[in-house]
């Protein structure tokens, strides 16, 4: 899916009745099948931007277009993954993954067949019947990833999906995400705090200013794919990571 944001801005009502500019105006074009990471200082409106693209939050000004059509509410072609795994505690792992299918009216047997096929890929084959409270943070995020995969989205929105995980689990899950994405033709927009993660995953890294967030840098990442952990230590990677870092620091200063 081709995505185009035109002059998006979001204001929130402040505590004293005034208006608080949270985001933008910001414009951004994302090509079909492109993986874009958005980085920026905390509170710059990255998550708000993702919510606007997901159709969960109406922008104060501007329009979002997907394949030339304007988005004003959630679309079935778009899936979103949140910072928190956001699972339903009363549903087992397989029922959490199958939720989008159930809402779409897919019969039970077909739902479970789809999930059973997916579980090994997510390393969750022994946890189909487990409840979210029995899972580790990394496993819970894998369930959330599974819930996104079954939707077969053409646009995948990720709001700091691995932000709450430890560094190693985070790296592992990011690479698993890349495997899922490869060859799917999905367009991905991901918000992250982590510069290495952004450079390792993305085709393009967008650096946002502090609030109200605007684009201050748009950096192409032309590292070869498939990406591997070893690339974290190669020179081309380090140069790009430094470039992203200095763009953020210049903005934060």
């Amino acid at each position: 899916m081709k995505l185009s944001l035109r002059d998006i801005s979001v204001d929130f009502r402040g505590a004293n009745g005034g208006r608080l500019a949270a985001l933008g105006p910001i414009s951004l074009d994302v090509a079909e099948g492109e993986f874009v990471c958005i980085v920026g200082p905390s509170g710059c409106g990255k998550s708000t931007l993702i919510r606007v693209v997901a159709g969960l939050q109406a922008p104060t000004t501007g329009i979002v277009e997907a394949d030339g059509e304007s988005i004003s509410r959630p679309s079935s072609a778009t899936a979103i993954m949140f910072q928190d795994a956001n699972l339903m505690p009363w549903r087992s792992v397989q029922d959490n993954i199958a939720l989008p299918l159930e809402l779409a009216g897919v019969p039970k047997a077909a739902r479970y067949a789809t999930v059973a096929e997916l579980l090994p890929q997510l390393h969750l084959e022994d946890f189909a019947g487990a409840y979210p409270a029995e899972l580790s943070g990394g496993m819970a995020q894998r369930v959330a990833l599974g819930r996104v995969i079954v939707q077969h989205p053409r646009l995948l929105l990720l709001d700091e999906p691995f932000g709450a995980l430890d560094a190693l689990t985070r790296e592992k899950l990011s690479l698993e995400l890349l495997q899922v994405w490869r060859g799917s033709g999905q367009t991905v927009v991901m918000v992250t705090h982590n510069i290495n993660e952004a450079v390792l995953l993305a085709d393009r890294v967008i650096v946002m200013s502090s609030r109200p967030g605007r684009t201050v840098a748009d950096i192409s990442i032309d590292l070869p794919r498939p990406r591997r952990v070893e690339q974290l230590f190669c020179e081309a990677f380090l140069i790009l990571a430094r470039e992203v870092r200095s763009a953020i620091e210049k903005e934060a200063a």
């Binding site: 997901a54 159709g55 959630p74 679309s75 505690p89 087992s92 939720l99 809402l103 409270a133 939707q151």
Partner: protein
């Protein structure tokens, strides 16, 4: 329970209290056997059970649906809460006579007293439960294009269920009170009526039999709701075991 029985037996055996005020357990047991074999107890118990059943059905369904509406529309709470609170804080014995005047001294008036008394815990807990549905999960359902009834069925109901069932537990024990209060005011049948009848005949053992039957009904109902919770909230046991 056994300890209580023992103390009771000892007090009566040593003649500490006259048998008229506190009949010995054996005498109460005799009265129980007689009340069962004559069909007296069954008849009155059935009346009370009928009142409780329909009262619970009415009060719980109104409490649930009104609670849901209020949780979704704060304006409705603004309009309704003075009326509801006023109704709730007035002792039901005070206006039970009115209900008898309007609805007669048959089961209908007791169904209403029961409904009124079970309504409030259901209302309060439904509002609290529905309001506590996590907003992130609402976002999730929204992003999945869930229809309103799907959000209700797959998110709001299961999320609020533990709180709603806690309300039902309170309501279930209050149901006996609602029915018996109505029967005390005026009735031709029911356990409350049996107590009045026995008291007028100075038949203290029969008063005890009626009271114990009420206690037994209340406990069974509480147990039934606890069982329902155990079944419906099985995921919680799994979650806390880990």
């Amino acid at each position: 329970m056994l300890l209580l029985l023992l103390v009771w037996q000892l007090i009566t055996a040593f003649g500490l209290v006259s048998a008229f005020l506190l009949p010995p357990p054996a005498q109460v047991l005799d009265a129980f056997v007689e009340a069962v074999s004559s069909g007296l107890l069954a008849r009155h118990t059935l009346t009370t059970l009928e009142e409780m059943f329909f009262g619970l059905l009415l009060g719980v369904s109104i409490g649930l649906s009104l609670g849901y509406l209020i949780a979704k529309a704060p304006l409705l709470e603004f309009i309704l809460s003075p009326i509801i609170v006023a109704f709730q804080s007035t002792p039901i014995v005070a206006y039970a006579p009115l209900l008898i005047i309007w609805l007669g001294s048959g089961v209908e008036s007791k169904i209403v007293t029961t409904a009124v008394i079970v309504f409030f815990p259901m209302l309060v807990n439904t509002i609290a439960g529905i309001r506590a549905v996590p907003p992130q999960l609402q976002d999730l359902m929204h992003s999945l294009n869930a229809r309103p009834w799907q959000s209700f069925r797959h998110l709001e109901l299961p999320s609020a269920l533990p709180v709603i069932l806690a309300g039902l537990r309170t309501s279930a024990t209050l149901a006996v009170i609602g029915a018996v209060v109505g029967e005390f005011v005026s009735s031709g049948s029911g356990l409350g009526h049996l107590v009045t009848l026995a008291r007028n005949l100075y038949d203290t053992p029969l008063v005890f039999v009626s009271v114990f039957t009420m206690t037994f009904i209340a406990l069974s109902l509480y147990g039934a709701v606890a069982l329902l919770e155990w079944r419906l909230l099985a995921w919680r046991r799994r979650s806390s075991a880990s």
